[in-house]
Structure formats: C-alpha cells, structure tokens
Symmetry: C2
Subunit: 429 residues, 2 copies
C-alpha cells in the first residue's frame, strides 16, 4: 500500500480512537515509522454521539479528520482501510487495501455493541457506537414522529412515540435524559398536531441500579433526576426479545414501542488471526502489564479491546472500558516502545482513575472524583467543561460550545434533520 | 393523511425551497389552511451546497427543519412525503403518504440537474443539487486522495487528483475556486506523501464566457481570478461523453479525470399529471402573470419550475432560475390568494432585480447591482453578508459565521470527513 520503506522500526496501529491517536501522537517525530489504520478517515468523540442522535449537535462537530491530527507529520502515515486479519508468524497485517508488515502491532480497535446473542434485538434495535449509527437513530426518532402525525389511531401513535432505552450506563442515562428534554422543550412546538403526553421514554437496566461504575449516591441521584424529568426508569428489567414492535422482558411483562435504543453493553472489537487462547471474557485480548497480548512478542492491545486482569487489586477482571484507560495506555505504550527500541526495560501500567461522570440533562449531572461527589448545576458545568476539553480540534470545541450555549438559551435542538431516511430493511451502515 | 378538516380554503404547496417557504410564511396565521409538502423534512440553502462538498461547512448548518419554520403555527401543516401525481379534474394530489384534496395547489418544486440527455454523464458525473449529493461529492473528493496515496503510478495518481467542474455559472465558478483553495491550503498538509502539483482543477463552460447572467466585466474578472488561483478555465468547451475515467469534449480533445462535477444546468422539476401543453422549454410550467399554470384555474407554479414568458420585456423566455424570483413570486402569490378568497382581483408579478453575485475564493467575488459592479474584497464581504442574511435560522447563521471566520484565519476546511463512503455502483441518494 505504498508506505515508504524505512530503516526505522515500523509500528502499525489499528484504530484511531482515544487510545490509537494518543499512541500515534506520542510517537510523532520519534525515530520510528508509524502507520495508523482506521475504517473511518476521522476520529469519533463517542461520549457525545448521543447528542447527535437527539439532534443537539451536528455530526461534523464531534468527528475530527485523522489526517488533520497528523498534518505535516513526517513519520506518521494514515491509511483509510478495514483490517481483515493478522498473520502473526509472518508479522503481517492483511487489510482491504493490501498487506503490510510490522515490527510492532498495536490493536486499538475499541469495542462494539453487545446484543448478548439476542438475534431479534440485534436485528431490530438501534445501536449508537458510530457516527452513522447515531445519524440513523436521529432519522428513526424524527421519522417516528412524522409517522405519528399520519395516523388517527391513538394506540398506533403511542407505539410510535414510545422510546425504550436499554442500558443504565452513562450512554443510556444521557440518551434517556435527552429524549425527555426533546419531549418537553422541542417536539411540542414542531408537532402542535400531536398530543405529546402520548410520548413515553423508558430506561431499562438489568441490574438493580443505574451507573454501575459510579458511587451509590450518583446512581440514586440519576434515577431521581430522570424520574423528575418524566423518564420511566425500570431497574432489574432485562430484555428477552424484540420484534420491532413489542419488547418482551424476562419477567414476562411487555412494552409496545417502535424504537428500541440499545446501550446495554459492549464487547471488544476483535481481529481475526489472534489466537483464541488470548481472548478472555467480553471478547477482549488478554494483555500483560505492558499491554502485550498474551502469547505474542510484538503484538499489543490498548483500550477497550485489551483486558489486563490480575495486575491491579482494584480491577481483577481488567480495567473499565472508558476513554481515560485507553489514553493512559496509549501514552505509556509509546514510551515503552521507544524504550524497547533502545533496549531499555518497559514500565508496567497503572491506571490513574481521575473519576467518572454522567449528565442527565439541563443543569443536572453526577460526578465522582476520588471520594468526592458532585451533583446538579456544578456537576453539569464540570461535565460540559471536561467534554469540551477532551474534544479534538479547536473548531470542533468552538462549534460544540456555540451549540450548547444556543441550546441552553433557546431550549432548542437545532439539527433535527432526516438527511438519509432510515429503512429497517436496509443494512445498518 | 390525517389533515384536520376545515371550512377554510386549503392551499397545498409542493416544495419547501425559497419560494415554498416564503409563500407558506406569508399565509401563516391567515384565514386559510396550508399544507406544505417536501421530500425532505428540511429546507436546503442551495447557494452554499458547494461549501459542504468542499469540506468548508457541515451539512446541518445549511439545512433548516421545515417544522421549525412553522413551529407553533395553527394553520400550516407540514407533511414529509413524495408527491406522485396531480389529478386536476378531481382537485386531488396523490403522494407517497396518501391522497389530499386542495382548493389551491402551488408547485414550488424547483429544479433538478440537467444532463442534456447524456446518459454516460448522468451515470458517472456527480451532481450537487441536494444535501445528499453534496455529501456524496465530499466523500468522492476525499476518497480520490486516499486512493492516490495507495498507488505509486504517477499517471493513475494524476487521474485521481484531477477534478473537472462543468458549468460556468455561479455554482461551477464557486466550486472550482473552492477546489483550488483546498489544493493550496489544506490538502498539502493532509497528504504530505503526495506531490500536490499533480492535482489539477478544470472549469469547463460551453459558451464563450463565465457567469452568463452577470455583466461582461464580472465574467472576465472571474476568469482572471480563477486562473490566478491555478484553475484551468476552458471556455467554449462542451462535454460529449464521460465514462468515469475520460471526459471527451465536442472538439475531439479529452481529459483524464476520475471526478466530474456537473453544474452545467438545471431543468424544472416537473410533476406527473400536468398537461404536456402547459410545459415549455427547460421542463418549466408555463404560467401567466399571476403564476397560474396555463390551462388550469386553481393550480399555480412559482420559482424555478415556473416560466412566465412574454410578460416582461427583460425576460421574454421567463425569469432566471434564482432564489429572489422564487421568493418574490411566493410573497405575491400569498397576497393574491388572500385577495381571491375575498373576491378581489390579483396583482400581476413584476420581478425586482436586486442584482447578482458569485464568489471565487478568499477575498475574491464579483457583484453586479443595477449598473454598479464590485470586485475583490468588498464584493467578497457583500457576498458573505448577503448569504448570512438569507440563511434560515439564527443558529445556522451563527455556526456558518464561526466556520467562515475559522476558515479565514486558519486557511483550513474543518469538515473533511467521509461519513458514508460513496460507491459508484450504489444509487446516488
């Protein structure tokens, strides 16, 4: 694929998410050749995808061109392509745009939606892990309302206007909150013909609490906030089946809803050619404390796809699948690769947990930092600030900030466009 | 389709472009029922589509939700659907979402790309009349560069990096200028591996001059500006055939280029059921000075799809297909319909030409107002100001302005994303 030959070691990184770009950035300008692969030509800021789905942000403001991250770089080469498989015994990566040999290979492939093997749910529910999926969901939500205006049948209307979010993690909580705000502030003006009281938002979580990664207090606060906003929070509610019209729960009850939003979990995004023995629970690759994949000498994995069990008493089954872990691992791996090229010993990884947060809606969020817990307006401002800070690119920060200020002042969500209508029989790409 | 019955006259408007929304806005709150149809749930600000194609603006900032235009309105009903045909003898419109009767019917369907019957061009060239088409073109341009990095063959590279714009009207001029700026300021940093001198931009126009609707001086200025920016301007160059790789011109010459951007002309977007006798040159509906379609009593047409010949000595073949004509006709037709419902005589249309303008690039534009002609920086600022003014929605104005300021200061185009890769064998939707 026309990568210049070089006498420096070649590090191939698969995936331009939080971990991948952190690693490539830290290797930029160093005495190594870096080839970064991604199936998209942009980095996606996944924490804000839910705002694209709910018409609060344009997709272009949370995506950042990967070539722009490495513009003018002399040693980082970006390649837009799909990785097909790795052939470890040949140090070779097969991709949709050709083969490439490597000295070091790093999987930063992230995670993909976990439907827990439920075929009917995979076929009929809307996932929200990519920009395309977020745009499809935006179309589906708006299309449901357009369809609701066409029918005089109240029962049909209610089914169209019922949105069930499954999964009580940050994404599920944030999506349910955003839908409640659409119901309250935006849709009544857009659809004066419809009785918006028919619209219902459910949040289903299989365990007994929300935000399992956070403190008990934050979980309880999220439930209370969502309930105040009109969301039906059902805890201990596990989905069994969904045919596109009715959601059947494990306890035998059912909810009639045309839209099911699936935020119930993720699994590692594996790569063909990695030995089965190296894969652990959640389809993650087992790595040692240097992020080296079990059984290989020069293959590494960082971020969501990597599981580093039994190295840290806090995380016996591996670290949480969140951005800070990926970024810290990317940072350290860059340092370690450079050390290894100089025949120095690598350093072991230790996660520095800065805390976690989730927003529920306007002026409402929960933040856990060390032993401290923040809620309400102050937590919400912390959430906004940190997300602006993490967003890649100054233009994106600016446009997102303008949108947030605008949405806050006007109680509006500006981008409710059906650019490409979603048809359920089409492929979800 | 569940439109409330009413004792007021029902005016059905097909198309939410400049003319259609102007008309519906002017009828908002009046003693009539208005139903506005569009195949999109948003209004598209077509003059800036070329900036979406060339990665300067996000699509969401030039599209505006039609329901938001009429939020809280009690007498304007929006319906998202495709119009199939009209049955004039029954005062009935057949659509993809059902039938609807009307008292007055107004076609504001605009125009569609004119390939002048060349099938090979229609199949292989990229049009740019809708948001989807503009996004496809953005993908195609970026994909061409990604492909160019993969081949060591200089000839192949050059074909991939050659962009031919056909049509010397404002859209063609603006697109060619934007491509020249991408070549100069953006792509060299993104693709340090590529020799950007291989990139070529052509602008082909079949007549002997650019910007036919404008003064001679403006046409000449546009040629000079584009040439200074490195665009190959070919006048009197008519396309005969394009197979996706080579453009054959009428004079026998040929250009090897993987991307052909077609901005060479438009025809009226007709509707089935309108008598052939009412259709004139350019597939437009012949209307009288009240915009009534020839041969019908209660069917009207405004904007691009309407041709009003022989009523104005300046425009013997009908008015130019530009936004101000559509808006003024929409405005007057609203007034006339209200007059007719009160049994008053309608007023005849007379176009007030405020002038015309086109931008070529950074600090370069041409503006004709009455007998005055502006060029350079002052014309460019006028162009920016007027387009911001005409853009629907405060949020859109703000985001577009921020992007323009950002692009101006940074010499950058922020949104070079391939969100949905374009595949030539797929339908262009």
């Amino acid at each position: 694929m026309n990568i210049p030959s070089s006498d420096k070691p070649r590090i191939v990184i698969v995936g331009g998410g939080f971990g991948g770009i952190q690693l490539a950035r830290a290797l930029n300008g160093e005495a190594v050749q870096v080839v970064l692969f991604d199936r998209n030509n942009f980095h996606t800021f996944q924490p804000l995808l839910y705002q694209v789905s709910t018409a609060g942000l344009e997709p272009d403001s949370i995506a950042f061109p990967l070539r722009k991250v490495f513009k003018r770089s002399k040693n980082v080469f970006f390649r837009w392509g799909e990785v097909l498989r790795v052939v470890p015994e040949k140090n070779l990566l097969e991709t949709s745009i050709g083969e490439l040999s490597y000295d070091y290979l790093v999987f930063a492939t992230g995670s993909t939606t976990n439907f827990f093997g439920m075929k009917s749910v995979a076929e009929n529910a809307m996932p929200m892990k990519t920009v395309s999926e977020a745009l499809n969901l935006r179309s589906v939500i708006l299309q449901a309302f357009e369809a609701a205006t066409l029918t005089p049948d109240q029962k049909q209307r209610q089914e169209l206007m019922t949105f069930v979010v499954v999964g009580g993690g940050p994404t599920g909580v944030e999506t349910a909150g955003a839908l409640a705000e659409l119901k309250k502030h935006v849709l009544p003006h857009d659809f004066p013909e419809l009785d918006l009281r028919l619209m219902r938002v459910f949040l289903l979580e299989a365990t007994p609490r929300l935000l399992n990664g956070m403190s008990d207090g934050s979980g309880i606060n999220a439930v209370e906030s969502l309930q105040e906003m009109g969301v039906n929070v059902l805890l201990g509610a596990a989905v069994k089946d969904y045919d596109g019209a009715t959601i059947h729960l494990q306890d035998g009850s059912a909810i009639a809803a045309k839209t099911l939003i699936w935020a119930a979990g993720v699994v590692g995004q594996g790569v063909e050619g990695v030995a089965k023995e190296s894969i652990v629970r959640g389809n993650r690759m087992k790595v040692d404390e240097y992020n080296r994949v079990d059984g290989y000498g020069n293959i590494y994995a960082i971020g969501d796809v990597a599981a580093m069990p039994n190295t840290d008493e806090r995380y016996p089954n591996g670290h949480p699948m969140v951005a800070p872990v990926a970024m810290q691992q990317g940072q350290l791996l860059a340092k370690n690769i450079l050390r290894m090229t100089k025949h120095q010993a690598p350093e072991a990884f230790r996660y520095f947990d800065k805390g976690s947060m989730a927003t529920v809606g306007r002026n409402r969020a929960v933040v856990d930092v060390a032993k401290l817990r923040f809620t309400g307006w102050i937590a919400w401002v912390m959430w906004l600030g940190l997300h602006l800070l993490m967003l890649v690119g100054f233009r994106n920060k600016l446009v997102v900030m303008i949108n947030w200020i605008w949405n806050y002042i006007s109680y509006d969500r500006g981008t409710r466009l059906i650019v490409r209508p979603f048809r359920r029989d089409e492929q979800k790409t």
